[in-house]
């Protein structure tokens, strides 16, 4: 990415001081996933992951509010699984049974696409792991979605340079 600002997908690159199989478990083992995934102030009481292509996932986030705990459920489908290398899954807001619900029904503060896609790419570098995570609003299995990141990078530059 040329520029972090004004990008149309979230792309984050990090290097972790751990081998790739370790980082793979962080994403695919529910117990490890629960330990880091919850946003600050939230916990993950439920995470089920059927990690195979076409398998589903269901994750519950619990947030403490003055009115008691609030639960948000997310479901998704695994699209690509290459162990220790590449993980692609979709994400949608859901009810506790995994039925997809519209983000506006959940009172989301800003417009959200119904289904987004998370892509995790891992690469071993001297015993450490370089990870590139992409979160985008266009699922990779949607028609013609291949190669969209390149086009989005071009668009990002356009958005960033747009006056006012």
């Amino acid at each position: 990415m040329a520029d972090d600002k004004g990008s149309v997908a979230v792309v984050i690159e990090r290097t972790f001081d751990a081998p790739v199989d370790f980082i793979w478990l962080m994403w695919t083992d529910p117990e490890h996933f629960k330990a880091w995934y919850g946003p600050d102030g939230a916990t993950i009481p439920v995470a089920t992951m059927d990690v195979r292509v076409g398998g589903t996932r269901l994750v519950c986030m619990e947030m403490q509010t003055p009115n008691g705990p609030m639960h948000m459920w997310f479901t998704g489908e695994y699209l690509q699984i290459v162990e220790n290398e590449r993980l692609v899954y979709t994400e949608s807001m859901a009810d506790e049974h995994g039925n997809v619900v519209s983000p506006s029904d959940m009172g989301m503060p800003e417009g959200h696409p119904v289904t987004t896609e998370i892509r995790v790419e891992l690469e071993a570098v001297d015993g450490r792991t370089k990870m590139v995570m992409t979160h985008a609003g266009v699922p990779e299995d949607s028609p013609g979605a291949a190669g969209w990141t390149m086009a989005f990078d071009k668009l990002a530059a356009q958005v960033a340079s747009r006056p006012g």
Binding site: I12, W36, P113, L155
Partner: protein
């Protein structure tokens, strides 16, 4: 407070961009306005097929067409792209914080492993 309309608009923007021909058209228009004929040039497609794609982009608010000339040049409207950009900007800090925690968690696991190795 955003409305369902904002959200529908965003979904429509994503849907419009979920097609490589339409993304190529948008990328071309990012360089400046163009006629339908000019937009069709790089593609092995009929003019009606290209027009169809342009109509989808118009509905999503990504493309506007001028009325000032008979050939009605197309231009890019960046506003829907900014909405996607806002969505991304909101999510980035959430992910950054998550990976900070992943880092801490990994350090914690290593420490535990070291401690148990020393005990054993």
């Amino acid at each position: 407070m955003p409305t369902a309309t904002d959200e529908d608009q965003l979904s429509e923007t994503f849907a419009a961009l979920a097609n490589s021909t339409r993304r190529a058209i948008v990328a071309r228009l990012a360089e400046g306005e163009a006629t339908v004929n000019e937009l069709a040039e790089p593609f092995d497609m009929t003019l009606p097929a290209i027009s169809k794609h342009i109509k989808v982009l118009e509905r999503a608010g990504l493309v506007v067409r001028a009325h000032r000339a008979q050939y009605r040049p197309c231009a890019l409207d960046g506003a829907p792209l900014e909405a996607i950009s806002t969505w991304a900007d909101q999510h980035r800090p959430v992910w950054e914080a998550r990976f900070d925690r992943m880092d801490d968690y990994i350090a914690q696991l290593r420490q535990q492993r070291r401690a148990s190795e020393q005990d054993g």
